[in-house]
């Protein structure tokens, strides 16, 4: 079944509104795949076997945008920051810098006067450490999200201990595997966080056996955050797919299949956790695609360097509260539309965003 074929099953089910909680009670969870996945390996006919959960469980409950264009820089940190600000950020992807424009976390916390514990980011690598807060003078310091780098959390528990058993969970950036940016600007107290989340080395020991990847670790920590803080805004960035940069197709496919399973796990938590059930809208979107097979100058799935249409175009699904089920939207939208859309749902205005709210889900 091709992506667009869902259009034939267009079954608008408008929310009644009577049972919709006020915006002040609504929650959003955003899951991005930092490590774009192409249509060929996901929603195109040859790729559907890799995404059984997205295809059979989540899409039937979702409004699905088939053409999401990213016109910005195709590096994972800068692109994810662009999703969070609604502006195509132009900073060096590998620099340890803040976004230049306010993030949704700042809009949300300032406009809605929410405490720090109500907005969280779970991010895959050190490079994402500054994503929670911009350096915009009207927002910035004090209004951002708490950024949790699960690997850092794990590394703290492992300090002075044998780390060999956990090496597979400590992988960093696949785009630049030999470089780890210095951490700066995130004052999260890891000890306190670990205590609050009731995490211990024993926890990691017990779960580490089953956790086969950094993304599994991220979701493990994200679920703990949901259970202990129940934030209204939670942003989870998965990254295993980006192993594609090493050129091994099977590992890239493993990453997609894992992301598919983890999205289902997050959705199940939303459905079963009383703090989230019936109050939450879930967004799932790759940050961008990867190079097309036919693009001269690229090497297909391996990188996202050519800026071709395949690397710029991806999809987004939205499900949960206030979202019509089994609806396909084929019009072209932009990845920077996400930030104002979150604003429309959560009751803030992403005033500096260059995107537009998506009326199909707001």
């Amino acid at each position: 079944m091709a992506v667009g074929s869902y259009a034939a099953r267009y079954l608008p089910k408008l929310p009644s509104g009577r049972n919709t909680p006020p915006k002040s009670k609504r929650k959003v969870v955003v899951v991005t795949f930092g490590g774009g996945a192409r249509d060929e390996e996901t929603f195109a006919p040859g790729g559907q076997e890799n995404i059984p959960e997205l295809l059979h469980t989540l899409i039937p409950q979702a409004t699905f945008f088939t053409r999401v264009m990213n016109r910005g820089i195709l590096g994972h940190y800068v692109a994810t920051a662009s999703l969070a600000t609604g502006v195509y950020e132009r900073f060096n992807n590998f620099a340890a810098v803040c976004p230049q424009n306010p993030t949704v976390f700042e809009y949300f916390r300032k406009d809605r006067r929410r405490p720090a514990s109500d907005a969280w980011v779970v991010a895959p690598s050190n490079g994402f450490n500054r994503i929670g807060e911009s350096d915009n003078s009207s927002y910035g310091s004090g209004f951002g999200a708490g950024v949790v780098l699960p690997k850092l959390l794990l590394a703290q528990f492992l300090a002075g201990k044998d780390q060999s058993f956990y090496q597979h969970l400590l992988r960093d950036n696949y785009e630049a595997p030999f470089y780890t940016p210095a951490l700066a600007g995130n004052d999260l107290d890891l000890n306190e966080l670990g205590e609050t989340l009731q995490l211990s080395l024993r926890d990691f020991s017990q779960h580490g056996v089953q956790l086969t990847s950094p993304d599994e670790l991220s979701v493990f920590v994200a679920l703990r955050i949901m259970q202990h803080y129940a934030p209204s805004m939670l942003w989870i960035t998965l990254h295993d797919i980006d192993v594609a940069h090493a050129g091994a197709f099977s590992l890239y496919i493993d990453g997609i299949r894992r992301s598919d399973r983890l999205c289902r796990q997050i959705w199940d938590e939303i459905q079963s956790n009383p703090e989230y059930a019936g109050k939450t809208t879930l967004f799932i979107a790759p940050d961008f695609g990867r190079d097309g097979d036919d693009t001269v100058g690229g090497n297909g799935f391996q990188h996202h360097r050519t800026g071709d249409i395949a690397s710029r175009t991806t999809w987004m699904m939205v499900l949960g509260l206030g979202v019509r089920e089994n609806v396909v939207v084929d019009r072209l939208v932009q990845s920077i539309d996400l930030a104002p859309t979150l604003g429309a749902i959560c009751g803030f205005t992403a005033q500096m965003s260059h995107g537009a709210p998506l009326p199909e889900v707001t």
Partner: protein, 402 residues
Amino acid sequence: MQPSKIKAADFGHYPPLARQLAIENLGILRQLSLVLAPLLLQEVSAYDWKFPAERQEIDAQFSYLGSLTPQELRDIMKPFAAIQVSSVLSDIDWITYPQVFSEQLSAALWATGQVEAFREASIQYVNAYHRLHPPLSPPVPRLTMVIIGQGVTIASFPLFRKLRPYGVYYSAIQPTNGRESLVRALTARANAHPMAYGHWCVDGGEPNEPVATGVTSISYGGLKKLRLAVVEKMRTLGRESGGPEGLQKMMRELDPSQFKDTDDATDPVMSRFRLSIFSEGSGTQFYSTTFAEWTARELFRRAQPLSALIRFAPRQVQLSFDEMILDQNGVVAVDPQGSLMDADIGAFYIWLNQRRLPENEKSVFLGWFEDHPEAVMIAPHGSPGTESHEQVSLDELLRSAV
């Protein structure tokens, strides 16, 4: 510096053939836009280490540019001239360091949103050039043979799915001595159509005896010393580089003279090519499947071979990069099923690369599941998207196609 100011003395540090070429074409270089001149010089500066097909391409570009009237040349340069270049970029000594200019231009194009404009300008330029200088035809139709699945007993997924729509899928190949058949075919072509760097054998496993005179051989196992030396460089440079761009630049600047103990440098063209596989490729340092695919991609793009035999072998299992970079000497388990999936898409990409070369419609491509009866052949006479269940040997298959 603007191209109009270029002088012959500026090329004093270029290798001999590159210097001569640049000086001979000084008049043309002076008329190019600031965006295009450094990119062309990037190719010229490495002329001495280019394959014959690449040299022909550079020569033809100068021939094309030299055939244009001044007005035509200005028209061709217009889209490049419209790209805004900062003074930081124009101040780079791009004659001496065209690679540095190229990298910084690329970053600037992304940052200023001019990537699309540059892509369009490049496509227009290449199309205009090819209209007057069509690519050279090969003396015989090309033959590419890809062997996948070494060490796999049963494939856990249908093979050659991406290739089947373009050719004939065979389910009853007689696999006995299949590899020997393909090596024989390669050798016969190398003998019948001798051509420098025209016939290649790429092996993702251990090295075999040299295939034949006239066949250029390269293997993952055979380059182990060089590969480990490059990984060691990555380890040390990674700490000094200050970031990924810095590391990439340092890796690209590696010179074969730094690896004398680990690589036979009797052929400077091949010496640079071998090093580039590890210093410019991503993942080639650790995964043999990536090595085989990337090497094939590069040799098709650069050497434009008449014949190629590429064999995939099992790669190591996935480990963290830290683990891989710290210990490449230990014994590591292999992942045959994952490697088969890598090789299956690798075969498709190799065919795509063959398809980009001139007179592709006459080319022959064969993919074979090693020691098994499955194969796919894409050839002029085959009916795309069909299947054959007839018992046939690889010898017979090749005879019928070539």
